[in-house]
Subunit: 415 residues, 2 copies
């Protein structure tokens, strides 16, 4: 057996006892993890400094260095996240539906863990703890495979979590970090169908594409967001401008920020100059269709490829459409099925947009930036699914569970 | 583009309009299909006779020939199934949950179709209609890939369904039959990630294993059932014997029949001879552990492989266990996660078994033969999932849908 197979077998074994652990035991382990992370922050920061030193030597960009950096405050923030997960309702064991059949059988649909979840992620060491504790609360083992840039930090965090699990009477193998950070270990993890039930990639486009293309283990695809805002002819302009600015500029690097603006041709010559002025505050670069460029002179030309692109930056593609049908068709063709929004006062256009857009989250008169587990009230988020199978949209604890049917009989046999 | 890619692209396009078709339109199409199948039964039977002639020439087993055969009565049965699907509640559009967030956003979780579903199946031509109409009712396009033995029958049925779709104002491409029945077409279908959202294999072990191993399209694994019945020390013997006979002998060829009997050592010497006498009525072959063979002299030896085997026949593997813990451990190791049952009067043993067994359906004091969409009250069944992702256990209409979040705002932006 390879090192990873051994890890997988241990995780699977740990998962079967974790599946029946009491809520109290899981919460005790979580609270101990939170406490110990804070107590041991000096050791964590020391491990982190090794990663930071390597990163600087390797000429990593300052923005990435910032993401990688752990401080006392950030560790306290991570610990607070763990405490919040402890507060969340335990999804496991809940009977979602229960029916009595004509033959007297009582059939219940009960929430159970998925089993072992593999998480493949990039630089941020906080994901190590966030993902592991969400898996734990939902009764799943977690096999974490972080990026090599954060290995020392991830390892320090994992060692602490494993010690806490043991002290709390759970198997330390409920949480494990893949020690080999080469590409080969990621590939092997993606093929480990015998031990891993589902793989959740968290990171940039390249990572996610690689996982979706190479995995044999079932994947929940997350995060890609080519989101649109459609300003319909009967939009309230003030509301439209506020939503546009918020959705594009509040945090352009994230998946629920918009990349593309569609404007109804009836209002384009009035709305676009206002939109341009609004986005100029952040020097947003415009790439527009021919009609857009006739109105906004310094917009660059948008290619067909632009309309498929998630910039994650202060760049926006703009297109004038002749009506809501063209807007819906354009979005369903070019969008990534993440978050799409319409701004309009027209009731019927709202209903049509909500019905016909094929995306995880479809908004009327609100910013796409709300697509988030916390904002949706799930209490937590392990990622945002852009696929249709198993889970779609922000994933909280319920989304990393499965069900089983429990059937209470009194001697029934089938006729 | 290959023939299959063209079919996929058409199915995908058809799916996007089917997703927003009204319940009335879908039901009208279903009722028309039912009516036309009966009206054209002579033509269907003629096409079927070509398959039957080929099958007989190829020396196909009588049991398979029976499965392949269509008669007026069987076509009426298929049509009746279609009418029943028309009666089922349309799952699409249902808002499962709706919450109001503190910021006033109203967020609803709405059922939507999965998109395009590929079904790979074997000889029975009724699956062509059953699967297609379930997909249709849940707003999904269906790409059907049946076995070559039933091609002429499947094709005749598909042509009729497509004509009816057109007459009912829906796209005929909502239902398509892969015309090439070579192994290559199945493999290509499994890789068609661009057009197919999920693949459901229906058939024997070989087919399902091949799909699970080769598919790039997400798969819902169905049907493999290595099911167990555990007779606990406090079992009511009469009830235990009735359930044993029903679960093993009522229809041994199906996935929810049991393959293995576990008996508590405390009662083994009393229970096993009774069980043997009961199963002798159907000449069931016994393969037992050493302790079993000490009691039942003409039981053959059970190998470790026997305990992993789904016989689908009048054969049973038998093992004496020392307690419920050994029973649970044995089942979780050897079972296929389909249906497992305990017989006991002991309340706490029931609760423990229901909690600790990791399977789609876990029974107390009832036959495993109830694992079925109709028996569970789902109104229909497109298969029984033995995986944990997306759906587990019998799958009805709800299980071939996804969700989207619809968000009603009044100008909210994220702080």
């Amino acid at each position: 057996m390879t090192e990873l197979e051994i890890m997988g077998a241990k995780a699977k074994k740990a998962a079967s006892s974790l599946a029946v652990a009491s809520t109290q035991m899981k919460n005790d382990a979580l609270m101990l993890i939170a406490k110990t992370l804070v107590e041991k922050s000096d050791a964590i920061i020391e491990a982190n400094s090794v990663d930071l030193k390597n990163a600087k030597e390797n000429g990593v960009r300052p923005q990435m260095i910032d993401r990688l950096t752990l401080t006392k405050e950030r560790i306290e923030g991570i610990a607070e996240g763990v405490r919040q997960v402890a507060q969340l309702k335990d999804p496991i064991g809940e009977v979602i539906e229960m029916v009595k059949r004509p033959n007297g059988l009582i059939i219940g649909k009960q929430r159970v863990p998925l089993g072992t979840i593999g998480i493949i992620y990039e630089a941020r060491p906080n994901v190590t703890v966030d993902a592991a504790v969400l898996c734990l609360k939902a009764g799943n083992s977690a096999i974490l495979r972080g990026g090599k840039e954060a290995f020392h930090s991830n390892n320090a965090l994992t060692i602490i979590m494993r010690e806490c699990l043991k002290k709390a009477g759970l198997s330390e193998d409920c949480i494990a970090l893949v020690q080999d950070t080469t590409r080969e270990s990621a590939t092997e993890l993606m093929q480990l169908t015998k031990y891993i039930d589902v793989l959740i990639p968290r990171g940039g486009k390249g990572l996610i594409r690689s996982v979706v293309e190479n995995a044999k283990v079932p994947v929940i695809e997350t995060g890609m967001g080519n989101c649109h805002l459609y300003i319909e002819s009967e939009a309230d302009f003030d509301m439209a401008l506020d939503i546009l600015f918020n959705a594009k500029c509040q945090r352009p690097s994230v998946c629920n920020a918009i990349e593309s603006l569609l404007v109804d041709e009836e209002i384009a010559d009035k709305f676009l100059p206002l939109a341009k002025a609004k986005l100029d505050a952040k020097n947003v670069e415009w790439r527009g269709c021919e009609k857009t460029r006739a109105i906004i002179k310094d917009a660059k030309e948008a290619t067909e490829e632009d309309y498929y692109t998630e910039y994650n930056d202060y760049i926006i593609s703009v297109k004038i459409v002749k009506d809501i049908d063209e807007a819906i068709e354009h979005i369903n063709e070019h969008g990534s099925g993440h978050s799409e929004a319409i701004v309009t006062k027209n009731y019927f256009k709202v209903q049509k947009f909500l019905r016909e857009i094929d995306a995880a989250c479809v908004y009327a008169n609100a910013s796409t930036r709300f697509t988030d587990g916390f904002e949706f009230g799930l209490g937590a988020e392990i990622g945002i699914s852009t696929q249709k199978m198993h889970a779609r949209g922000p994933m909280g604890l319920n989304e990393i569970t499965s069900i089983k049917y429990i059937i209470y009989g009194e001697g029934q046999i089938r006729k």
